[in-house]
């Protein structure tokens, strides 16, 4: 019998921690390989963790709803038929521990030996030290497998595949990198316990809460609103929606028009498509549009990847696919990752003005408010009825100023005004 550990898997780019929200099996249960063991939540995605082994659940190692870093051991299993005895595993652990204490750089055997192994450039050594990266974990892409500076800069410790039994080293590191111990859920400011129900927030709500606090704490928000005349879009959509529904099997809403106009404006204003990173401005080459999709309970922000490659009809289909997946609970992790700008359709709520909180680490979020008929003056001094919409943009004031925000919104307005014929849809 051997003891195997199940660890918190990497749940996506930039995800550093997650929590177990429910155990599907309990100690003493027998599980087969690939049987689901638990549900974990991170960054608004709920995932079941399957078992890598067949065996008997020995013990659970973490508490429910407590965030733990990626790579943390979650559960142990007793596995039948393995040659190692528990005793031996313990010994192995001891040995590795000693190695760590002696800070021996002895490489783990799992990487293939290459000619360039062990010869690191000054930049690689410095960056690895700064970031606390074990160079043995890094796959080199340079000549003869040399580890390059870029390999280190792009290295994601969470992606290191640990197929060996867990060693103490990992655990020790994780503990070191964890910040100050989190306080237990702070007691609500209760006035009279009898007059209120206290329900613990679930994982998704906590993920949202955490992200929002991070956004507000880290990003100095500024916001700006413009109003746009979208009469042409209302007319165009009314004219084409039946045909569209017939041909494509889905409704054509107003939202894709805004998405398309925004993407076009982002092409002209690349600074909108950026992130702040430690004093650097990261310009994203891909335009990945995050869109807000709500269910009864939660808000999800799936991503239209490379939205600039899509026609208006293409965007419509992608929005439809993502919204359906969200509502069916089938959203894949990859659909939640890599967003570079968020577009929020607050208009569906009837809102006419709102201040969006930026989806960290993006640089801006645009709220599309509801379209309302209004009487507006015409150039010749008369009046007309027009379909007007407010566009509210929140910006990260570290990266963007009013100038760029205003220019971007001007371009969005202009793009919106340019939709005129059915050929703009395909």
């Amino acid at each position: 019998m051997a003891i195997k550990e199940i660890k918190m898997p990497n749940l996506g780019e930039s995800v550093t921690e997650a929590s177990v929200v429910s155990w599907i099996v309990k100690p003493g249960d027998t599980v087969k390989r690939y049987d689901p063991l638990m549900e974990v939540v991170s960054d608004k995605v709920t995932t079941e963790i399957p078992s890598d082994f067949a065996g008997v659940v020995k013990e659970t190692l973490v508490e429910l709803d407590v965030d733990v870093p990626i790579g943390t051991s979650l559960m142990t299993l007793e596995v039948e038929g393995e040659d190692d005895s528990t005793q031996e595993v313990e010994e192995v652990k001891e040995e590795v521990k000693e190695e760590v204490i002696a800070s021996s750089p002895a490489p783990k055997a799992k990487k293939s030996v290459n000619k360039a192994a062990g010869r690191f450039s000054p930049a690689v050594v410095r960056l690895a030290q700064e970031k606390g990266i074990d160079l043995n974990d890094v796959e080199g892409t340079g000549k003869d497998g040399r580890i390059t500076r870029k390999d280190i800069m792009n290295f994601d410790p969470a992606k290191v595949v640990q197929s060996e039994p867990v060693v103490e080293e990992t655990v020790i590191k994780v503990e070191e990198t964890t910040t100050a111990p989190k306080s237990e859920t702070a007691a609500p400011v209760a006035t009279s316990p009898a007059s209120q129900d206290v329900v613990p927030a679930d994982g998704v709500r906590k993920a949202i809460a955490k992200k929002m606090v991070q956004s507000v704490n880290e990003i100095p928000h500024a916001w700006i609103m413009v109003e746009a005349d979208v009469t042409n879009i209302v007319n165009l959509r009314n004219k084409t929606k039946d045909e569209f529904k017939k041909n494509e099997g889905m409704s054509l809403s107003f939202f894709p028009f805004f998405a398309k106009a925004v993407v076009q404006a982002m092409k002209k204003n690349p600074k909108i498509n950026t992130s702040w990173d430690n004093g650097n401005i990261v310009y994203h080459k891909d335009i990945n549009l995050s869109i807000a999709v709500t269910t009864d309970e939660h808000l999800y922000v799936p991503v239209i990847h490379n939205a600039d490659n899509l026609s208006l009809a293409g965007i419509t289909k992608e929005i439809n696919r993502l919204a359906t997946d969200v509502r069916d609970g089938k959203l894949q992790g990859k659909d939640m990752q890599g967003g570079t700008f968020t577009l929020n359709n607050t208009g569906t709520l009837g809102s006419v003005q709102s201040m969006g909180i930026i989806n960290h680490p993006q640089a801006a979020i645009l709220q599309v408010e509801s379209i309302n008929k209004r009487i507006v003056p015409t150039k010749d001094g008369g009046f007309k009825t027009a379909d007007m919409v407010n566009l509210c943009l929140s910006i990260d004031h570290r990266i963007l100023d009013g100038q760029q925000a205003g220019q971007f919104l001007r371009d969005v307005k202009e793009n919106l005004a340019n939709f005129s014929s059915e050929s703009d849809i395909y």
């Binding site: 450039s121 000054p122 930049a123 690689v124 050594v125 410095r126 340079g142 000549k143 040399r146 390059t148 500076r149 870029k150």
Partner: protein, 328 residues
């Protein structure tokens, strides 16, 4: 705006400065009259500003060097032309011993506001005496500025800045670029600083540092390699002495992989100094050995076409070196 060659841009820059300041005078072998210099850079200036301000000298480079110093001290802004950078050597004593030290040894009471203009570089079948890169002789000589523009816009802006400088400037003009490069040049009065390197192209994979004709190869190579997914940062040195340490080192730090390209001999060139600076200031950002691509350590470029080509770095070599560095 008007489309101009590198040569015409220099002519326009000088002409504008002569119009602006009557103390600006220009002279050299064949510079005056109708000829307008060996390559025609000063064509039309004698007609426009008179034979007193644009005139010929005998075949005495030492005189050109010394006359400029005397005129400078007397309050003129002198531009002396050497027909080829190889011919500058007889004037070296005047330049290094007199012009260069003037401000220093007079506590700034006297200045030598001189521009020594000279065409340099190969690739035009000049052979011996007509193709050398002599800029390294004047590098490391405090008090002197050594500059070279690599495109028509800079050519006009930098010659104007050089003429206005109170320090003696050796203004190298790459003769292969004279008629090769054309660009829209603003006809208004602008200058380009003569102490700043220029990041011509931003990139994240490798940094290529060069000037003159070789820079053109680097720019063209970078565009080609971008299609292979290699993103090169290209920097034009522009100020060969003193070097713009900050810009050069920062560009090196950005990618950690540096290629230095010069058509001069490999050893002891401007690039050798840049390599030293980068290793002093950017060691812990370096991800590969600093690489130099240069001419061979031979006494001169040959006259025969095959020998000239053998000597000169070409674009294919630049591409190959860039690719190797990116893959390192």
């Amino acid at each position: 705006m008007a489309e101009m060659t590198y040569l015409e841009a220099i002519n326009l820059g000088i002409s504008e400065e002569m119009a602006r300041d009557e103390k600006v005078v220009i002279f050299g072998e064949d510079v005056g009259g109708d000829k307008g210099g060996v390559f025609g850079v000063t064509k039309g200036l004698a007609a426009k500003y008179g034979d007193n301000r644009c005139f010929n000298t005998p075949l005495t480079e030492g005189l050109i060097g010394g006359l400029a110093v005397g005129l400078g001290v007397m309050g003129y802004r002198a531009i002396g032309e050497f027909q080829f950078a190889d011919y500058i050597l007889p004037a070296t004593n005047q330049i290094l011993s007199e012009a260069r030290t003037m401000r220093y040894r007079t506590k700034g009471d006297w200045t030598a506001p001189i521009v020594y203009r000279t065409p340099y570089g190969g690739g035009v079948r000049g052979g011996l005496y007509h193709s050398q890169s002599t800029e390294k002789i004047f590098a490391g000589q405090p008090g002197l500025r050594v500059v070279t523009p690599s495109n028509p816009y800079d050519a006009k802006g930098m010659i104007k800045a050089a003429i206005r400088s109170d320090d003696p400037v050796i203004f190298y003009e790459h003769k292969r670029l004279y008629r090769l490069l054309k660009a829209e040049i603003p006809t208004d009065d602008y200058i380009v600083p003569i102490d700043k390197a220029n990041v011509v192209r931003e990139g994240s994979d490798i940094t290529v540092i060069s000037y003159g004709m070789m820079l053109q190869y680097a720019i063209s190579a970078a565009e080609k390699l971008a299609k292979e997914g290699i993103d090169a940062e290209v920097v034009d040195v522009r100020s060969l002495y003193p070097l713009d340490r900050e810009t050069l080192v920062n560009a090196a730090k950005k990618t950690g992989k540096v290629l230095l390209v010069t058509e001069d001999n490999k050893e002891g060139s401007i690039m050798s100094e840049i390599a030293a600076m980068i290793s002093e200031d950017a060691l812990f950002d370096l991800d590969a050995p600093i690489k130099r691509l240069a001419g061979p350590d031979a006494p001169s470029m040959g006259y025969a076409l095959t020998l000239e080509r053998e000597f000169l770095v070409n674009e294919d070599q630049v591409i190959e070196a860039m690719r190797e560095l990116a893959e390192y």
